[in-house]
Amino acid sequence: MSGARVKAAVRTPRIGAVTPALRERLEAIWETKPGLYGWFASVDHKSIGLRYIVTAFILLAIGGIEALVIRLQLAGPDLHLLTPEQYNQLFSTHGMTMIFLYASPILSGFSNYLWPLILGSRDMAFPRLNALSYWIYLSAALFMYAGFLVGAGPNDGWFNYVPYAERDFNPGMNQDFYALGMILLGISTTVGAANFVVTLLRNRAPGMSINRLPILAWGTMTASVANLVVVPAVSLAFFLLWLDRQYGTHFFDTGGGGQPLLWQHLFWMFGHPWVYAIVLPAMGMVSDGLPVFCRRPLVGYTPVALGTVATMVLGFGVWVHHMFATGLPGLGLAFFSGASILIAVPSALAVFAWLATIWFGRPVFTTAFLFFASMILLFVIGGVSGFMTASVPVDWQLTDTYFVVAHIHYVLIGINVFPVVGATYMWFPKFTGRMMDERLGRWNFWTMFVGFNLGFLPMHLSGLWGMPRRVYTYPAEMGLGAVNLVTTIGSFLFAIGVLLFIVNALKSLRSGAAAPANPWDAYGLEWLVSSPPPPYNFAVIPTIVSRYPLWEDRLGEAPERSNLDEGLILDEGKETLATTPLDAEPDRILEMPEDTLVPLFLAIATTILFVGLLLKLWPVVALGGLGAAACLVAWLWPSLHLSQREPARG
């Protein structure tokens, strides 16, 4: 609660320089109190970002172990390490974990931590909503894994086609855990997306106009706008499935006039934009990271930024390419085939921009750079295999074979995991104040790179040789044993690489070299502040005039310079600046909320509600619902002191 003195309704903010006294004042205002309360109640975007990152990496490791068990089962023909039921749950849970519980949350984590820093703000637009999105993500992960742990994990793949997902064919609770868990997770994704969208439109430093934003901001913004409008499709699909299963509705079952393809349309209208949402922010990391290590600005900033948006816009129009074999009419097939081929163009644009940045720069081979540079090759391999599947008649052979499995792993590991690992090497010093070990980093990189390619390049071959997807074994006569064995060996090598990454991170946390504010001599605003940053990020809000604030002296391009040392002070409470969306002109002073347990309670109440739905215990549903309602009312209760500033007159 704010003090008894009623704040001024408007004021001209003071401009000043950074002083130790100012820092002390801001520290006291912004710090999260140590101890359990502070940990659970924190709304600091940096804490929330780190939680997202750690949780997502744990889930990556779990999903990876699932994959290794799968690879052991497939290392040779007719093996019996797993029963079919176990295998089917493993591959489905692996997909769910990687695509929903790792790929998006990891990017949310990095974006959460970095956005206010790279945009020149003190926090995200909605700090409490931020905390809520994390707690619900954690609850959803636990909810879905609870099913797996009691032997009722998802068992119909990650895209969960009907009718196999309907009760007649899938009587256990597997599908109910998955469906309700996904709806719960969808809440987290949606509120997180809303937070990013509003933050980008409102919470920037003066002068950080739309054409000066880091590409990470463009990527996450694009993904978030997309998520806002496509996540409802999948949440709805899962809800309708749950209704079909539990309440005898007929959305998907043919017995009552439902259609199995309705599921596929709803799912893929979400699913295709989703896969762009889980790579565009990572591509942004590469676009922001390569310039640092190539010692020059990105070549083609504007095309890359617009190409990011174009990829997503086109991405809304290609979902049917997941359904080419379902018997659709020719005209529709031709249209979606064309769109799917053309979507390669903005991706190609990014690749050429990156190559040009390398060719016209002086690359320094840090570990981060190795990951960013190698992803270009992996991106292209994933891209061309995607291009092949875009051609309908070719896809009629390739789809549902290991060729597609090769494609998806090249695009997901190549365009998400490799950039994320590179981003970790680059930003770890900022997050933790310590450098990662570069020598171990080399070992990490080469094991991951060689292992990944050894594992997944041969998969193109197993696909062309006809190995179908989602088979728990294959006969010896199919000639697939040798290539699968190579894939298994490669996967284990890749896993060792990932292990080295984790070891490096943990070791560096304990004993890495101390990191200065800007160890890479990079250009972004996050490198202006200490490593790790103070809780308030910027002691004064800087004024920005270019895309490369910390390089302006050396680039010498503009008559003006960004003012990084003197700016708006904003210390009359927990305050930051709101700016206009396009030109980032100062617009108002925002008051940020204090740490609070309400988001945690709301997440708990919502989870209780979903547990009630899962078990069909209506008292539990009511308890969760009322709890959630109470939390929401408490959260949204207006501040009386706001109107006291400008009371009604007359």
Binding site: V10, V198, P206, V229, G258, E560, N563, R588, E646, P647
Partner: protein, 203 residues
């Protein structure tokens, strides 16, 4: 020697004023995502209807006896809330309370009539895909109406105890926009389920 650019803004408002504030942007994001949800529900109707054999429409000529007037009721409720918000903007608490209160009553009436209509149907959600879609779509809308009623009740309470002033009233604006959104969704749902059959869709 290059010059340092320093933003020196004149007076800035502290916190939300009028209809401007982070909360409004948040509401816009919420409206966008919920609108998308209803778009997908309506897509499901048009998709199933377009490929269904004749007889899919359980009511080839849906009765407008209840739904027609009910639509007017909901529209009037939006008008009432507009009046209520105007009352807050112009510092007329009486108008504000009357408008908000009337919006609540009309909204509650809409919900009650909708319940009656559900009861009057000769089929339940499990009868067919058409029935499932009808009940789930109007059901989702009803859920949004109920949330809206809670919001209206809270706005009434907060207005009554003096939380808002002409400049500091963003909660009222946000709540009003949400209520208008619920109304707009109903127009799409109504057109889809009650009007398109008369225009020949799925018949």
């Amino acid at each position: 020697m290059a010059e340092l650019a320093t933003a020196r803004p004149a007076e800035l408002a502290v916190g939300p004023t009028g209809a401007k504030g982070a909360g409004w942007n948040g509401l816009a994001a919420l409206v966008a995502t919920e609108a998308a949800l209803f778009a997908y529900l309506l897509f499901a109707y048009y998709y199933l209807g377009a490929s269904a054999p004749s007889g899919w429409l359980l009511e080839p000529h849906p009765s407008l006896k209840l739904a027609g007037p009910n639509t007017i009721v909901l529209l009037l409720s939006s008008v009432a809330m507009w009046w209520g918000e105007r009352g807050v903007k112009l510092n007329r608490r009486g108008d504000a309370l009357v408008g908000t209160g009337l919006a609540f009553v009309l909204g509650a009436l809409f919900a009650a009539v909708q319940l009656l209509e559900w009861k009057a149907k000769t089929y339940g959600p499990g009868a067919s895909s058409y029935a499932s879609l009808y009940f789930v779509t109007t059901g989702f809308h009803m859920a949004h109406v109920l949330v809206g009623l809670v919001i209206l009740a809270l706005l009434f309470l907060w207005t009554a105890i003096g939380y808002f002033s002409p400049v500091r009233r963003i909660a009222v604006t946000n709540g009003t926009y949400y209520w208008h959104f619920v109304d707009a969704v109903w127009l799409f749902v109504f057109t889809t389920y009650y009007v398109t059959p008369y225009l020949g869709f799925a018949r």
